[in-house]
Subunit: 424 residues, 2 copies
């Protein structure tokens, strides 16, 4: 099955918004064995959208649109697709009631124009929207032996993704005209792409037309994507097992998870299964570690909270950091990182205290402590230590990298403990 993407919105053309929707849909469809052959962005103009639908269906079976689904006058997608497939719009009463009740629950009045959201082209299915008011739309028809499939999604990325995951992909996965493709992802952190490649070395004897390996770098780490195109599932599993074994042998210490695991979720499971709790003492990361830990549902099982010690006065007053140490070593130092980790552990009664103190930039760097320097402190009932890391990025990326490094310090410490524990 070939797909074309049609992303709609003036804001994409004038560069006010980067088209992350196309990238995400491209990746998601590809991993499901659907080939994305072309991706087109046009503005909020009915005749242009229509012309691109025609062009897309000249080549593709499936067209996925994003954008232009809201209640305002420049939202034209629904009208255009209804017209293109000659399917008149009519109010869907159940949908209208659902939208009205969403407004009621938020205790807000519903504007007249919002009712347009409940209009659906005849013969189209709704794709449930678990997080917003406007659902997506699905349509399929076969005329003259040619099948045309259409998915209409909103432009707001979070809504688009949730609708696609909940309602669109399950439909597509039922189809037999996909290329068989088996993916496996290993998640690494704490090592850059080139270094990881050097650690892993040559694996070309395991790769061929049927078996691929891709390095996918991001700020939180490098993902290794293993792919088999074999249409025999046992053969694919065997190929990927063999490749995974070699990768784990050579770079296992950097691999923290598989699939779409996040470091914070993997760490959360480790803490929960060991009955441990953690508290955070954040300076350089400003609360970001707490945010990441609490992004995981159920994190209250193991995360108690902590202190954002951005000002030195808070480090002293709330965490018991010594003023003399701050004076002698500076805030970005091993001693302060350790005192912060120890202090938050004592203040909260957590099993583990973790801390960050560093220079995210752009200001504040010195020759000795350049922008991108961070000390990460760790304390539990048996051990206390701090490690220094250096990154070379801008403020936002540094905060991201600092927080990832801190979460990984806990993960590695727990793994070390596990490894050195006497057999039961």
């Amino acid at each position: 099955m070939r797909a074309h993407l049609l992303t709609i919105g003036d804001e994409l053309l004038i560069g006010q918004t980067t088209n992350t929707n196309a990238a995400w849909l491209g990746e998601q469809l590809t991993t499901r064995g659907i080939r994305v052959a072309r991706s087109v962005t046009v503005g909020d103009d009915a005749s242009t959208i229509r012309r691109e639908l025609e062009r897309a269906y000249a080549d593709a079976t499936l067209v996925v649109t994003t954008g232009g689904l809201g209640p305002t006058h420049d939202d034209l997608t629904k009208e255009v697709v209804a017209d293109y497939f000659d399917r008149p719009l009519a109010t869907d009463d159940a949908l209208l009631a659902q939208i009205r009740s969403a407004y009621d629950r938020r205790e807000r009045d519903m504007a007249e124009k919002v009712k347009d959201l409940a209009e659906v082209p005849d013969g189209f299915d709704l794709l449930d929207n678990p997080v917003g008011t406007a659902p997506g739309l699905w349509y399929q028809e076969e005329t003259g032996g040619r099948e045309r499939l259409l998915a209409v999604l909103p432009g707001v990325p979070t809504e688009m993704k949730r609708i696609a995951e909940a309602s669109l992909f399950p439909r597509l996965e039922q189809r037999s005209d996909r290329r068989t493709v088996t993916h496996r992802t290993l998640q690494t952190t704490g090592i850059g792409e080139s270094d990881l490649q050097a650690e892993i070395g040559d694996v070309s004897d395991l790769l061929d037309d049927e078996v691929h390996l891709a390095y996918l770098p991001s700020t939180s780490g490098v993902r290794l994507r293993l792919t088999s195109y074999s249409d025999r599932s046992d053969r694919a599993a065997e190929q990927l097992d063999r490749l995974e074994e070699v990768l784990r042998e050579r770079a296992g210490q950097y691999i923290f998870g598989t699939g779409t695991d996040t470091l914070e979720a993997v760490l959360g499971d480790m803490l929960r299964s060991r009955g441990l709790t953690v508290a955070t003492a954040e300076s350089a990361t400003g609360g970001y570690i707490g945010h990441r830990l609490t992004n995981v549902p159920g994190s209250s099982d193991y995360y108690l909270g902590g202190v954002v010690a951005y000002a030195n006065s808070v480090k002293v007053g709330r965490l018991g950091v010594s003023e003399a140490t701050l004076e002698a070593d500076g805030a970005v130092s091993e001693a302060v990182a350790r005192q912060m980790a120890r202090g938050v552990r004592e203040a909260t009664g957590a099993s583990i205290g973790i801390s960050t103190t560093g220079i995210a930039g752009p200001g504040g760097g010195t020759d000795e402590k350049p922008v991108g320097t961070v000390w990460i402190g760790y304390a539990d009932d048996e051990t206390e230590h701090a490690v220094r890391q250096k990154f070379l990025q801008d403020r936002m990326m540094n905060k991201d990298l600092f927080s990832t490094a801190a979460l990984d310090v806990i993960r590695r410490q727990l793994e070390r403990k596990e490894a050195s524990a006497p057999a039961p």
Copy 2:
């Protein structure tokens, strides 16, 4: 002058790379008065690239391509454009010498295939590449009274940008057929797209072919984009002033900034100029407010830090929340929100304490306090209050919305103070 973008590369279609080139070129061309009417991404396939060139020139004067300019076998752009314009490729000796010398300086051997980089279609100009080996290309021709302009740029963003800035934009800026376009953006928060539209009501008497208004929603708020296409800058300013005045009259309380302002940066400026400091007591947001505040360079001027009080024991132990109140009202309550805000203010000595306690989901909701409920507490030296907000989103979006609402509580409080202050 109308432009189409043609971004080339399999990695863009399968989502391995997000298409930041299209966004950047869109913004740069738009601000130079060149209308980007369409943006197409295709893979590394000669016939597809050629077909898209044909489609583009059916509508546009200028086509800008990125990607497919390197030395490997899947780099096809140069061959395709040479063929499309019927301009044979020939080696440019000066360029070959330049490429050879770059290899010598890096003490590397030049592979045979690299020589292909020095081939240039007859009649094409080079666009100097200050940072890499492959230059961009420029071509223009007029046939049958129709002008066609072509810029061919590499796909690596840093190289693409440097070539465009150094060699492409100066050429385009000399042309007289650019449309003058003036944008202005108003940033709102605390109100959804439909509600904002209802507040603003009908402004069609201020809009016409020359003046446009767009609503651009995201989780942090709705941006209002005002555009004038008048070629007289005084007239454009007047048009946008008039429209902005009406928008501010009708929805001013929701407008926190202009351009690319963020709420945290605007709030930071307000705090700094008033000599105030703030501390955070976060339960539901888990540190995210601190993270957002510290994303702003220089935030140590006004942000002291605070407490992430995820567990009730931390609310009691670190913020002085009363156990009796927790027992009687529950953690997600007005009284606890107020005690948290008051507690963190006292613990840190900040001018303002702000707190969140709520249910981000997916678990923990009840009929009385459903998922998406948050209490936001505010305390300063004169006043203390808490507001309840209800959202209907998933965990990540709720945390985002809670934190935006909390930052906006401070902003509104400071504006109210300003408004009620006696004239100096």
